[in-house]
Every structure is written in C-alpha cells, then in structure tokens.
Amino acid sequence: MLVAILIFTGLALIYGLLLGYAAIKFKVEGNPLAEQINKELPQTQCGQCNYPGCKPYAEAVANDEAEVNQCIPGGTEVMIKISEITHREPKEMSAVAEDKPAVKIVALIDEDACIGCLHCIKACPVDAIVGSIKLMHTVITDECTGCDLCAPACPVDCIEMIPVEENLQTWAWQKPKTSPVVTPVDQFLQQEKTC
C-alpha cells in the first residue's frame, strides 16, 4: 500500500516537473491562432476592418473581440477560412466592397498634379510610395497592395486606382470549359426520336 502511494507520488512529481519544464521551454510566443488567421488575410493593410492592419485584426479575432466577417478585400472566401480556424459560425459579410474589381488594382499618381505634400506616403501602410516634400511622388507598382488608403489622403485628388494590365508574364491558361457531354447512347436516342 505504502509502496504504491510512494510510487505514484514519485511519478506524479516527475511528470509534474516534466510538464512544468516543458511549459517554460516550449512556450509559444504570441497567439498561434492569430498567426494562423493572419496568414489567411490578404495583407493589404487597408484598415477597412476598423483595425489598423491585418495583424491587429487577426489578433482581435483570435481574442473574440472582432467578428469573422470584417475583412472586406478578402470577401466571403477569407471569412469562411477564418470561421474554420476559429470554429465560429460563418457570418454574412457586413459590408461588401463596392464595385470591387475582379482584377488586381494599384494606385497611380498623376505626376503633373502631385504637389509633393507627403500625405499619401504617410497613409501607405506598406511604404509603396516614394517621394520627398515638394517633389513628385510615385507608386512602386510591384509593392502596392491596392488598399486605397492613399487616394482619400491626397488633398489634390491626384491618385487613381487603376487595374493592373495583363501582360505575357501575368497571362494564364484558363480552366477548359466542360462542354455538355453527349454520349453515343444519347446520339442514338436522338436519332431514334427524329425518325
């Protein structure tokens, strides 16, 4: 009896220490759920979700502070992914991006009208605009996420969002159209009917 108690106390102690050590040694930095959600977000950093960027929104969702349907550029697709990760009920999108273009858009600064005020540079979440005070600004097209935060910041309204033109590098094969299947039996039956 005593031996059994001793053995089990000993085991409990050893496992307790092991678990305690593991908790310190393999501690997970940050919220893994937030990381997972952040991976699914489109990373446009547009702020349309009422959070200042994709990561803050991901954290808010992970902490149950935000709804799953606030990522407007991501749309329903991302919403479903988030709800899968968080095991929450999918919700209808609260707001749909108005006239959301099917193709990728990027900002374009009308260089003649730009007065070099720096406002758009401050607004850009990904530092995709270069320029200096009182000098012309321009957009680094490859790095622009198309978040549309710079356009309202511009005092002279010289920023336009334009769709990215398709070129030989971006052109891709489409999925073959599945034509309605006509089997020889169908053909035969059709012939029978017409006769």
Partner: protein, 603 residues
C-alpha cells in the same frame, strides 16, 4: 531480332513499337511530313513590312535602339538592353525604314499585344558585312563563343526560345557530350529535315566549333529514321571521328530534350535537374546552323527556316523566312485550298497553338505554320479510367490522377504528383478515348500554382513592409520622446543655474519669482486649453471613425471610376487646366498649413 518481332506484333497491336526505344510511352501519329519534305527550300520572300516583337525569347523584353523614321541596314542591331536579366538582342532582317514602334498582336495563344518594331522594307537588301565584327579566328574558349552567340541574338530554335548563350557553361571540359537534336518528331514539320538536307556541312562545322570551344570530344546527332535523306547527307558531311550520326526510331515525342538523351545515352535526367548537370548539352540543328553563321560569317540571327504546311494548302513548302514576316504573307504562296477564314497554328499539331489573328509575325521560335482546315470538334466525354494516358506518358507521370486533381482544383496534390515535370507533349490527350483536353487541364493547373505562389510572395512582402513600417514608427516615437526628455532636462538644468545666479546676484528681489511666473503662465494655458478642448475635441473625435473613412474611401473610389468613365473629352483642355489646378492646389495647401500653424501657436 527483337526489333523484327516487335515490328511484326505491331501489325496487330501498333503500340508494340513502343518497345523499340528506351523511354516510356509515346505515340505514333500520322506524320504528314511528305507534304513538304520533297521540295527544296524556297527563296526568301520579301514582304512589304516586317514586325519584330521585342520579346521573342525567354527572359525580359529588349528596348528599341532605333527611332521612327530611321533607315536601317540588314543585320543592324535594332534592339537590346543593358539589363543583366536573360535576354537576346534583335537585328534588322533586311534594309528599310523604321515606320513605327507600336503594339501589335503577338504569336501567342493569349492573343495579347506587345511592342514591335515595324520595318518598311526597301527591297535593296543593303547589308552590313560581318555585322558582329568577328575576328578571323575560331573561338577556343567558352566565353568567346558565348559572347558571339549572345551578340548574334541566338535562341533555342526548336521552339523553347531560351537564349543559347545562357545554356553554355563558362568552364571548359564541363560538357562531355553534345547532342544535336535532329529528331523533329512533330507531324507536318520538316524544317529541320530540310536544313539537314541542304546545310549538312554548316551544321557539322557549327557543331565542331561548339565542341572545340567547350573542349568536348563527343558529338552525337540523333535523327529519326523516317528522314533517310537527311541521315545520308549528314553522314556524308561528317569529317572527323568526334561526330556520330545516330538513326533513332520514329516515335513522338523523341525530340524532347530529356527523351532524346534517354534514347541516345540511356541516361534519365532527374526531375528538377538540367541536362548540363550531367555534362550534356542539347542543341537543335537550326541553332547549330545559326551558331555557324554567327561565328564564320559574322551574321546575326535574322531569318530562319519555316515549314508552311497543312491539309488546307495546295503547295506546302519550306522557306528561309525573315523574322517579322506575317503568317498571312507566307501562307499566300502555299495556295490555300479555301479562304483563310480559320485560325492558323504556330508549331505542330501536337504542341502548337492557334494564333488569334493570321497577321502575327514569324519570331525566332516559329518552326512551322500550319493551316489545317477546321475539323468538327468531338464532344468531351467522361473519363472511363482506362489508363491509356498513363501508358502513353513519356515521363511516367499519372495523367489521370493529375486530371482529377486539376479539375477539382486541388493544386497541392498535383504538385506532389510532379505536375511541373509535364512537358505538355499532348500524348495523353491524343490517346484519350473520351477526348478530354488533358493538357489544357495541366496548363491551367500549372498557371494556378504559379499564380498562387506569386500571390503568396506578394502578401508576405506586404506583411514584411507593414511590420517594418510599424517598427520604424515605434522607433521614431521613442527617439522623439527621448529628445524631448533631453531638452526638458537641459532647460531644467539651465533654469536651475539661472536661479542660482539670481540668488547670488540679486538677493533683494523676492526668490522663486521666475518659477512662480512660469507656473502661473502654465496654469493659464491649461485653463485656456480646457476651455477650448471640449468644443474642439468632439468633432475631432467624431471624424476618425473607421466607418467614415471607409465611406470616404468608397466615395473617392466611385469618383475616380466616374472620372475614368468621363475621361478624355478633350486632351488639350485638360492639359491647359492642369497647371492652374496645380497652382490653386498649392495655394490651398499653403493656406491650410498656415491655419494649422496659427491654431497650434494659439494653443
């Protein structure tokens, strides 16, 4: 003996001929080569206009070095770039005037347009002799040869269009075997056949030049056994023991690089590896001839042999066509049987593609123009899992599995099944009894995988940049706070010192007066601020709600869209009004800045 037995069996079961070669699968389509391989190469046709796309190769587009209206001579360099990315320069195929540099439709399945240099020919053929300024010496080092090949703008002329100089290693003796690809397994195409029949000597000496420069002692030229004439001519032209001409069985796709290596050397190049890693350099016969012309004659690549063939033509032929000649110009000479109201095909029937208009030009990679009268399309039927495609696949893939996963868009699984090793040869589609366009599905899957990868890259870049920006802002904040703190400290120290001075200098004045004054002033300021803030704060707090900003954003977007729609009523007026707008805007901005300043100073 075995060959003989296999041939006998193939009378009953045609696919038994697959046993004749070393790689898996393959098919035996009707060759149709006799349509065009008897006639000698037709003299170059001089079109009125040449359209030279700035990107005829794998890599980046080159930039024009000529301007509209400029006169150019044959072989003159007209486009190149200083960029170090992969590219190949372009030369004028004949003399004439640059009439435009504009967007034209390219010979590409997308039908997209690209920048082209348009030359209006003068028919005089004024030529620059030795345009590449080749010294009268055969290159003995790989780098000299590479330089000549680069300058001549030579690309892989079998169809891939990979700049040849980039294929050649820098070190001597790295290449152990050079394989000259004369297989030409696609039906209808006979341009390589005709080159071998007509320019066998040039090909052999071209191969020797490459072998000498690379320090390689073994050249094998593989030619399909349905081109007996070419094999004969090539054997006659051989002048040393380095070169062997090998007759290989006729089977599609034996002309694929990896298939040819497997057939000739019995080596299978591993997935993801390149033939060069195994010490093998494969070159097309046309490419080798182009190298000969560049090294010996100093001629850049400005023309190529093209097959004009197809069931819709009365007189199919081969010609040395200038790059930039429109398809339609060449087709006219072949006497189409019916009006050309159908689309032409660039390349062979297996791997070629339909061009969107018949006006597109010949490029460095156009080996064949095919005019096949349109056939009735057979209906696609469901996959019956017969496994024919698996037996036909020359690289041992699982076409059926790839098809299912591509169709259901499970691209990760297609990647695991080595989708990217697929050479899109079309054997699977050819044998499919249900007429499923299998290759189309693989192309789609490949495109999607590539797109997803580039998107992932873009989002991770955006994330990184956003995080960097946040970190920078944080750093700036801390720095600012530190600066302020330091300043305050300095003022404090100063005032303390002043106070000490005051005390020692004038004891008559009441002590702490300066501090009291400052305190009083501060109090007054805070009171004032408190009075102002309630009025000011409420609107200030109301504005930055995100819903409002989104609304503004949406509104702006709409406005921008409207602007696009209403754009270009009159360009001149816009340009006239622009400077005014700009001035006004600057004025307004200045005013705004002044207002903000005054407000701040009041506070």
């Amino acid at each position: 003996m075995l060959d003989w037995i296999l041939k006998l069996i193939s009378l009953i079961y045609p696919m038994a001929k697959r046993g004749l070669k070393k790689f898996n699968g393959g098919i035996f389509p009707k060759s149709h080569k006799d349509l065009s391989n008897h006639h000698p190469i037709v003299k170059t046709i001089m079109p009125k206009e040449l359209a030279l796309p700035l990107k005829q190769h794998i890599g980046i587009a080159v930039e024009p070095l000529v301007v509209v209206g400029e006169k150019v001579l044959k072989n003159q360099l007209i486009a190149n770039t200083e960029d170090t990315s992969l590219h190949a320069p372009i030369h004028a195929p004949t003399s004439g005037t640059i009439s435009a540099i504009e967007q034209r439709q390219l010979p590409h399945s997308s039908g997209l347009t690209g920048l082209c240099i348009i030359i209006t020919t003068d028919g005089l053929e004024l030529e620059i002799e030795n345009a590449l300024k080749i010294p009268n010496k055969v290159p003995t080092e790989p780098n000299t040869l590479k330089n000549i090949i680069y300058k001549a703008g030579i690309v892989g002329m079998g169809g891939a269009g990979f700049p040849t100089f980039a294929k050649i290693p820098n070190e001597k003796n790295k290449v152990k075997t050079i394989i000259i690809n004369g297989a030409e397994c696609e039906p209808f195409i006979t341009c390589d056949d005709l080159i071998m029949q007509t320019y066998a000597k040039q090909i052999i000496s071209g191969a020797n030049i490459v072998a000498n420069a690379l320090g390689c002692n073994k050249i094998i030229c593989g030619i399909e056994d349905n081109k007996q004439q070419a094999i004969k001519k090539m054997r006659q032209a051989v002048n040393n023991e380095k070169i062997t001409i090998k007759s290989i069985p006729t089977i599609y796709p034996i002309g694929g690089e990896k298939q040819l290596i497997q057939e000739i050397l019995g080596i299978e190049i591993p997935a993801g590896s390149h033939a060069l890693n195994s010490g093998i350099l494969v070159m097309n016969v046309s490419t080798v001839r182009a190298i000969y012309q560049a090294v010996i004659e100093g001629k850049p690549l400005t023309s190529r042999i093209v097959t004009i063939s197809g069931t819709g033509l009365k007189k199919p032929y081969n010609t040395e066509a200038m790059l930039g000649t429109a398809f339609i110009d060449l087709i006219k000479f072949a006497k189409p049987k019916m009006k050309l109201n159908y689309r032409l095909i660039q390349g062979g029937p297996m791997m070629g593609f339909e061009v969107q208009t018949n006006q597109v030009p010949i490029t460095k990679t156009t080996n064949c123009i095919l005019a096949n009268t349109p056939q009735k399309k057979t209906a696609t039927m469901p996959c019956i899992r017969c496994g024919e495609c698996m037996d036909a696949c020359p690289i041992n893939l699982l076409p059926q599995q790839l098809y299912w996963y591509s169709k259901s868009q499970e691209f990760e699984k297609t990647e695991k099944l080595n989708l990217f090793d697929c050479i899109e040869c079309g054997c699977c589609s050819y044998v499919c009894p249900s007429n499923i366009p299998l290759v189309q599905y693989y192309r789609f899957a490949k495109a999607e995988v590539k797109k997803n990868k580039s998107e992932q890259k873009a989002t991770s870049l955006a994330k990184l940049r956003y995080e960097n920006k946040l970190a920078r802002q944080e750093k700036l904040k801390v720095e600012k706070a530190n600066r302020l703190k330091a300043k305050k400290e300095a003022i404090k120290q100063k005032s303390l010192a002043d106070k000490d001075k005051n005390i020692t200098a004038t004891s008559s004045t009441p002590p702490m007066s300066a501090r009291e004054k400052a305190l009083a002033a501060a109090k007054k300021r805070t009171q004032q601020a408190n009075q102002i803030t309630p009025d000011k704060a409420s609107p200030a707090k109301a504005t930055p709600t995100k819903a409002a900003t989104t609304a503004i954003a949406a509104a702006k977007k709409r406005a921008a869209l409207k602007k696009i729609k209403q754009q270009t009523p009159n360009k001149d007026t816009i340009e006239d009004s622009k400077p005014d707008n700009r001035k006004k805007a600057i004025e307004a901005e200045k005013k705004r800045a002044a207002l903000i300043k005054t407000k701040k100073s009041q506070e």
